[in-house]
Amino acid sequence: MNWEAFWLTVRLAAIVSMLLLAIGIPIAYWVTYSRWRWKFLIEAAVALPIVLPPTVLGFYVLVALGSRSPLGRWWESLTGHTLAFTFEGLVIGSLLYSLPFAVQPFAASFGAVDPTLLRASASLGQSPVQTFRRIVLPLSKAGLVTGFALSFAHTLGEFGVVLMVGGNIPGVTRTISIDIYDQVQTANYSSANWTALVLLVISFVVLSVVYGLNRRPWAVGPWR
């Protein structure tokens, strides 16, 4: 078990899921309440990473972050190094990769808030922002936790994007899934086994939390 890779991955997933909480809530808000007729195009773009092969995303990220792109040059002039093969580069790649796993649960829970509550709040003189903060957000707690947990878990298991833009640097970009790949490729099965088991258990626990939060104990089944 490579603990360096493990903690690196946990750090990456924690940073990404927290940033997605900050980025995802405004996007989800807009997606839920916007009446723009072309809104579906934005929704499709947000959902893209779910179906897009990670190699496609990795390829674009590598090209976009490289020293030959405007973004890459700008970052290089700012920090003195390119974004590819750095932890920051992985954070950017993972933000894109896990975006829908945060935005979709957020938007679903915002949309599930009873609109009569929103109208009542507005009639009592609350601004849309206040209504969102005091009514929508508290009622969407389960959706927020779900989005946070799913983007965390999804980032933990990221492989293709990291393989393409990471450069496999120990302690910087060698994440746990890359470490498992290396161990399997060098026929180091017992070590791969332990690492894989740890990832399996963590993923199961995170998903159990998600489903546990979203169960409806008050639901009445047809058999009653």
Binding site: L62, V63, G66, A84, F85, L163, D182, Q185, T186
Partner: protein
Amino acid sequence: MSKLLSLLILFTSALASAQEITVAAAADMSAALPELVAAYTKKTGQTVKLSFGASGNLTNQIRNGAPFDIFFSADEQYPQQLISEGLASKDTLYRYAVGRLVLWVPADSPLDLSKLGIQALLDPSVKKISIANPATAPYGRAAAAALRHFGIYDRVSGRLVLGESVSQAAQFVESGNAQAGLIALSHALAPTMKGKGRYWTVPLDAYPTLNQAAVVLSKSKQQDAARRFLEFLRSPEATSLLTGYGFSLPAEKH
């Protein structure tokens, strides 16, 4: 509908019985081997499917039952291991070339390789140096050995990025994401990279010789076809193509 389906099955099974051979090949052959195969197919009608990867990765896939007929390794050690495990036949082992390691920089690099040689890596403008992963790729081991040979490994190790194979190491530096790379000469000479950069050939005494060897795998159901393809490698046509990609022939001394 069912007629269409059975036609489809007939068609695909006819394709499969066309005696196609499947080759697992070291990443440094990714430019040369397709040309070799094209020449061979033109001559004999035999079709060959190619699959590239780091030699260590391919060895591991073969151990786990990957259905390849021939294995081209960038390091003879892997075919030897497979032979000792009974997975490849010893009498087919053929050293087809010696691989060369080069230091490659993009065309817009300010580094003067002919003057600096490997010392160019110590230049502060070199932020990242791409090499293949030494755990699975022979060229990665050669690169690490060369850096140690010149006594600069400890000074550059913090800037190394590891490609999954020597192909990815080449791609990292070709795309400008790394400023220098220790890659295969065969990639530097490949049409996709030629003219995009400059290279310095690392002297042969700086790293253990990269003896490239091919072997027919024991599980192959097409032993004869596979052996015939390996026989073709010894032909003047094949060897001149290999030397064109910077591979020196095993008998030659440099």
